[in-house]
């Protein structure tokens, strides 16, 4: 803080009180409102992590654009991946309103200091994986993101409204791929099952560690950056997805999966959290590859960014001279 009154305890108490009052009254916090440092830091971490996920998330699907089985599927996949680029941009913009430049966030990703969703460290081995990603990964993302449209930070909430509007097409096109394969030849059906087998558990883990282990849950709930806990969101995903798998005629790879009629929820077997933490730490199947691809794209595009900036500078200088 450069305004010189930071040290004045009564002033900062007063600001803190006003901030908490806004939260209590469910008023949005806007970039120009005073906010505690920890709130700002948590938001920058969470929003930039979310932005990185959108951008890195383009890679597994981008892998199949040139090999989509029809022109129609190719157009759809292109549009979907382009949407994800847009999502990344909305989110970087939202994070920038907190005073962190985009280049700084990108640099943190490339230095391995910032995280992105672990799910994108798994490979897309065959076409049905593109279907499974849309159906499961975008499906899980929607459940995560819808509550954030009501979060306390205005720019983040508004970015999320735009994103959510675009997501449901992503989930449906994925389900459509799965449906087509599941009702195709026995080989195609087997492809759909194979994709579900590999993507189910990583998708279930997308909601993050269980509530008992989650370090950010409580404070983020108080700040209304998070509105439901990891386990609540995960349960919602399971309850909505299991019947869809049945309708597809596919089997969820969990022998312990069962309907609890009393609680009216599905119960699942235990999640392999060791795998989750292993992939987060960098030992997933594609961690190195994903980051390397991002770094190369950034470095190889440097001359374009510089040339455009130089062109703009020269034109600006020309129009300024008489």
């Amino acid at each position: 803080m450069s305004d010189g009154i930071e040290g004045d305890a009564s002033v900062s108490d007063e600001r803190e009180r006003a901030f908490n009052e806004r939260l209590d009254r469910s008023l949005k916090i806007e970039p120009t409102n005073w906010m505690p440092d920890a709130y700002r830091k948590t938001l920058v971490r969470q929003i930039s992590q979310h932005a990185h996920s959108e951008i890195v998330g383009m890679l597994p699907e981008g892998n199949w654009i040139t090999r989509a089985p029809s022109l129609q599927r190719k157009l759809i996949l292109l549009a979907k991946v382009q949407d994800e680029a847009g999502h990344g941009l909305y989110l970087y913009s939202a994070a920038e309103t907190l005073g962190t430049p985009r280049d700084e966030m990108v640099a943190a990703l490339h230095a391995g200091k910032a995280k992105y969703s672990s799910i994108f460290n798994y490979p897309t081995l065959q076409w049905a994986d593109v279907g499974a990603i849309g159906w499961l990964v975008d499906g899980a993302a929607i459940i995560n993101q819808i509550p954030i449209t009501r979060c306390s930070y205005g720019p983040y909430a508004r970015a999320m409204v735009r994103i959510c509007k675009e997501e449901s097409f992503h989930q449906r096109q994925g389900f459509d791929i799965m449906w087509t394969l599941a009702h195709g030849t026995p080989e195609q059906h087997a492809m759909a099952q194979d994709a579900l087998d590999r993507w189910w558990w990583p998708a279930v883990m997308m909601f993050g560690p269980p509530d008992t282990d989650s370090t950010h849950n409580e404070q983020s709930l108080r700040w209304k950056i998070k509105l439901f806990t990891n386990d609540e969101l995960r349960q919602k995903f399971i309850d909505q997805t299991v019947p869809q798998a049945e309708q597809l005629g596919l089997v969820i790879p969990d022998p312990h999966l069962r309907w609890n009629a009393e609680k009216e929820h599905y119960e699942i077997g235990s999640i392999d959290w060791d795998e989750f933490y292993r992939v987060i730490r960098g030992d997933g199947p594609c961690n190195k590859d994903r980051l390397q691809t991002r770094i190369e794209a950034w470095e190889e595009g440097a001359w374009v960014r510089e040339a455009a900036a130089e062109y703009a500078r020269k034109r600006g200088a020309q129009s300024a001279s008489p």
């Binding site: 120009t32 847009g86 913009s93 735009r162 960014r305 455009a308 703009a312 600006g316």
Partner: protein
């Protein structure tokens, strides 16, 4: 190595259909105004959300300070006579 310069940031305003005002939809980075307009088209109007776009350099936007908004907007407080509901309309009077 040349000093890295990030492209400036622009605020994007979109008119969703003829006859409506431009509305702020978000921001983006671009080297110049032309590129800002093209990027805005690609990012904010992929689904026919607009018929016209304005871009303004973020640095050129001046905003009110929320810590002063109470005093700033004070002159419009407590002037209920500016609303039609303030006035009593006698019974039977029409077209008022």
């Amino acid at each position: 190595m040349k000093k890295k310069h990030e492209w400036p940031q622009w605020e994007v305003f979109v008119r969703s259909e003829a006859g409506l005002a431009h509305k702020h939809v978000g921001s983006l980075h671009a080297a110049d105004a032309r590129m800002a307009l093209e990027n805005a088209r690609d990012v904010y109007t992929r689904r026919n959300e607009g018929v016209s776009i304005w871009v303004v350099k973020s640095d050129d936007v001046y905003a009110t300070d929320p810590s002063e908004s109470e005093e700033f907007f004070d002159p419009s407080e407590g002037k209920s006579y500016r609303y039609p509901t303030y006035y009593h309309v006698p019974e039977g009077v029409k077209h008022l």
